[in-house]
């Protein structure tokens, strides 16, 4: 069958995931090279898929050449191509960070590749039961990754995530079962036509099936009352893992929800059963407010960012529930933007934690001058999260708010704008600590080196290393800066880590100018589903 690249996108990482374990019998550190190779192949394949989707539009690969009534289809359209590209980019970026900083064990890379394959599967599958299997592959790999640092705390966080996540996936499976009873098919395209043709949208089976699917996938996307696994899982897992799962796992949960809503139930279902859409939007809107409020009161930076994710996913799901063209476009853009910004932010937290060992907002005092590049990148991503204009965060929120007004739901638009203020509240708290709070006042903050002294030292270092261009300064920032200032025992941070953090935040800003590109690329998808 043609279009093997779709199958390869899923198969390559899953097959490669066996190599670190097998090769680990003979070689000590084979995990990273294997993962890097697989990630490069994935990136190339993702670009191939995106180019084909841009020229030809939607295309499919039928696994094993079975027709879609019996077999499984992998589908590439605008939405899935965007998500596949996001997975490929984040996989590469996090691997770049992990080269020097991350877990080095071979099993870690096995789980990492398995997770990557599962995510690709969710992004590409066109079969609702196959989606369940990939959700569970992603789940299993994530539970293992959360517990990689072998501490009791992370094991409990992983177990909590496992119980809640499995309950969610099982709910989804019940929903799939109801839809199957009603229509007798599992293929998304077949379901979309079979539901109105056989039983109609208002059939109790179809409504119940939607309810189970929506609740199950809301667990995966961490919508407010079902979000409790997220802060624990993000805060207790190693920084590399947090960055990867925060950028992708819930993102694909929200993607699955949008895919089911638009490609299986279709917007006509929302018209026939208005309560379904209204309930989705109501829960998502609650999630925006609750996530933002909870984020403001967190002392721990990772926990704060985790609650911020609850709010952002609320915004994304609300956009999907609204069902207008602008809102859907905004949801997709925000999905991508949030993934990139959160990956950058959690990696920045990792850089700072590995250099200074600090993790709470208070202890970040004055770090803006100790690690200028990391702190600046962090600040950039944080402002993007608020939605300051030349950033992808602004673009997503703009389209969502616009779509909300278009859909006649000014309350949602109001909440989106209000949540921007709340986001500013916790972002400003962190930025203020980074740049304006003297470290002497805070117990546990990185001591010594007041601003004036350090800028002197910084100048001397630059003159000494004779590096005046910006990239050298970036490279030297943490390593040289840390080794030169005696008062702290800061460990040197590898160049790759700082580079990845800076690149991700720059990418998040650059994508802010890509509104027309998104619009043009997603237009065929939007027209097909709306």
């Amino acid at each position: 069958m043609s279009n093997p690249e779709l199958a390869l996108l899923v198969a390559v990482p899953i097959l490669a995931s066996t190599l670190p374990i097998v090769g680990g019998l003979k070689f000590d550190s084979i995990g990273w090279p294997v993962a890097a190779l697989a990630a490069l192949v994935e990136a190339a394949l993702a670009v191939v898929v995106a180019r084909r989707v841009a020229t030809e539009g939607r295309y499919v690969h039928s696994l094993g050449n079975y027709p879609r009534q019996y077999g499984i289809e992998l589908v590439a359209d605008g939405f899935s191509a965007v998500v596949v590209l996001l997975i490929a980019v984040v996989t590469l970026a996090v691997l770049g960070y992990a080269r020097r900083d991350g877990p080095r064990s071979n099993p870690f890379y096995t789980a990492y590749l398995l997770l990557c394959g599962g995510l690709m599967g969710i992004g590409l599958t066109g079969d609702v039961f196959n989606m369940f299997v990939f959700l569970e592959i992603v789940g299993l790999a994530t539970y293992a990754l959360v517990a990689t640092d072998r501490s009791g705390r992370s094991a409990l966080a992983a177990l909590k995530y496992l119980i809640v996540g499995t309950a969610g996936a099982s709910m989804y499976l019940v929903g799939v079962g109801f839809a199957f009873v009603a229509t007798g098919t599992l293929n998304m395209a077949e379901l979309a036509t079979a539901i109105p043709d056989t039983v109609g949208y208002t059939d109790p089976l179809v409504v119940a099936s939607f309810a189970f699917v929506a609740v199950g996938l809301s667990v995966k996307a961490a919508i407010f009352p079902l979000h409790t696994w997220m802060p624990d899982a993000y805060a207790e897992s190693p920084d590399t893992v947090t960055a990867y799962i925060s950028a992708l796992v819930s993102t694909l949960g929200a993607y699955a929800l949008a895919r089911l809503v638009y490609s299986v139930y279709t917007p006509a279902f929302f018209e026939a059963v208005p309560l379904a859409g209204d309930a989705l939007v109501a829960f998502a809107t609650t999630s925006i407010v609750a996530g933002s409020v909870l984020a403001v009161i967190q002392p721990d930076v990772k926990r704060m960012l985790a609650y911020s994710s609850v709010a952002q996913f609320g915004m994304i799901v609300a956009a999907f529930g609204l069902g207008t063209e602008q809102a859907l476009l905004g949801g997709v853009i925000h999905l991508v933007g949030h993934g990139l910004m959160k990956a950058g932010l959690f990696l920045a937290v990792g850089v700072i934690a590995s250099a200074y060992g600090v993790r709470t907002v208070r202890e970040y005092a004055n770090l803006g001058y100790r690690s200028p590049v990391t702190a600046a990148a962090m600040g950039l991503s944080l402002l993007g999260l608020v939605g300051i204009p030349p950033s992808v965060g602004f673009l997503g929120k703009w389209y969502i708010a616009w779509g909300a007004i278009e859909a006649g739901a000014p309350v949602v638009a109001g909440v989106v704008l209000f949540s921007t203020l709340l986001t500013l509240l916790y972002v400003a708290r962190l930025l203020e600590t980074l740049y304006f709070r003297p470290p002497e006042a805070v117990e546990g903050a990185v001591p010594g080196a007041d601003v004036r002294l350090l800028s002197d030292g910084g100048d001397g270092r630059e003159a000494g290393s004779a590096g005046t261009d910006e990239s050298t300064a970036e490279a030297g920032e943490s390593t040289a800066g840390a080794s030169e200032t005696p008062p702290t025992e800061a460990r040197p941070v590898p160049f790759e880590a700082v580079f990845v953090v800076a690149a991700l935040s720059v990418a998040a800003v650059a994508l802010g100018f890509a509104g027309p590109v998104f619009e043009g690329f997603l237009d065929p998808f939007l027209e097909a589903v709306l």
Partner: protein, 142 residues
């Protein structure tokens, strides 16, 4: 008096109608009733039990309920195993094979999940010496 007397015939009528309906559902749709009961029990165990292993047992019960639902949905009264002979001549009714395949896959997924969960529980037990979630959290917060 009339107001008090009025409901009684309708209540009796309701009972007359619902009781056979309930009996009929229980006698012909008992698999679905069992599904609902097991589903609820499993969910309750996962939420309410403080013991981590019992939570996982609840999870397994919850998943088994879903397997039962799928198998029950595929069942055809008087239908035979969906194996069609190669020489043809397939007549009569067959049970639907697709849900059975789904259940097989879901069982594999469930087993792997249980394995991961038990591995995590073993680690928690060696670290804290208890399976009680509340106690573990207490120890952690100290």
């Amino acid at each position: 008096m009339t107001a008090a007397a009025a409901p009684s015939p309708s209540v009796a009528l309701l009972a007359e109608r619902t009781l056979p309906l309930a009996l009929e559902v229980l006698s012909t749709r008992y698999a679905y009733a069992t599904f609902a009961i097991l589903f609820a029990i499993g969910l309750y165990m996962m939420i309410a039990s403080p013991n981590l292993v019992k939570k996982i047992i609840g999870l397994n019960l919850f998943q088994s309920a879903i397997f039962l639902f799928f198998v029950a949905m595929a069942y055809v009264r008087g239908g035979s195993v969906p194996v069609i002979p190669t020489e043809g001549g397939a007549v009569g009714e067959y049970a639907s094979p697709l849900p059975q395949v789904i259940v097989l896959t879901a069982i594999v997924v469930g087993v792997s999940l249980t394995a991961v969960a038990l591995a995590l529980i073993v680690r928690l037990y060696t670290e804290y010496g208890t399976l009680n979630e509340a106690t573990i959290r207490e120890v952690m917060d100290e």
